[in-house]
């Protein structure tokens, strides 16, 4: 059971990747990307967890109390912003694709290949 958190993170990564690779709709694909990315924050927060630790916020808590790692939380904050940004950009591109070709299917917007 001690490895369940990491296994969940790996699972999210694979599920998201499968979704991205098979998606036929750019809006759906963008959301699948966020699932892939959620893997990285689940992994980060899991590796920084300390047994019986409290949040690293020392208001009304004596300094030196057992607390979980603050660094992974700071990294997760950045990661969350990145995922919003990527979704916004891909959706903007999806709207462009729809305006130009009437479809948001990545297989059908192929203009260049080879």
């Amino acid at each position: 059971m001690s490895y369940l958190p990491y296994a969940v993170a790996a699972w999210l990564c694979l599920v998201g990747l499968a979704g991205v690779a098979t998606s036929r709709n750019l809006i759906h694909l963008a959301v699948c990307l966020t699932v892939t990315q959620s893997s990285s924050y689940v992994l980060l927060l899991s590796v920084g967890y300390v047994k019986h630790g409290k949040a690293p916020i020392f208001k009304g808590v004596p300094l030196g109390a057992t607390a979980v790692d603050p660094v992974v939380q700071a990294l997760t904050l950045t990661d969350v912003v990145v995922s919003v940004v990527v979704v916004a950009l891909i959706l903007a591109l999806a709207l462009d694709a729809h305006r130009l070709s009437g479809t948001v299917d990545p297989d059908e917007i192929v203009d260049v290949s080879g």
Binding site: M1, S2, L4, P5, V8, W11, L12, V15, G16, A18, G19, R24, N25, I27, H28, A30, V31, C32, T34, V35, S38, Y41, V42, L45, S46, Y49, K51, G53, K54, A55, P56, I57, A67, V68, V72, Q73, T76, L77, V80, V81, S83, V84, V87, A88, L91, A94, L95, H98, L100, S101, G102, T103, V104, D111
Partner: protein, 93 residues
Amino acid sequence: MTVASTLVPLQAVVFALVAIGAPLVVLTRDPLRQALVNGIYGVTLVCLFVVLQAPDPALSMLVVSAVAYPLVILAAVARVRGERRRPKETRDE
């Protein structure tokens, strides 16, 4: 060192919920319904962050899955649905 699991039951349950939520998001192929499922998945992630003692990421995740994702995704879905499908522009091959 105890051999017993370091994972408390509450945490195990939330991890399991997240693990179940992810394939549901991916397998919901209809974007509108997916936005809904993704919102629920976001809430499970928020719960996960809370039980991992990470209130700051939990708040960020909460506002992202309650405000940012729905607004942007629904606007995109509405636009794609609302406009009648235009014929693919002809290009000289």
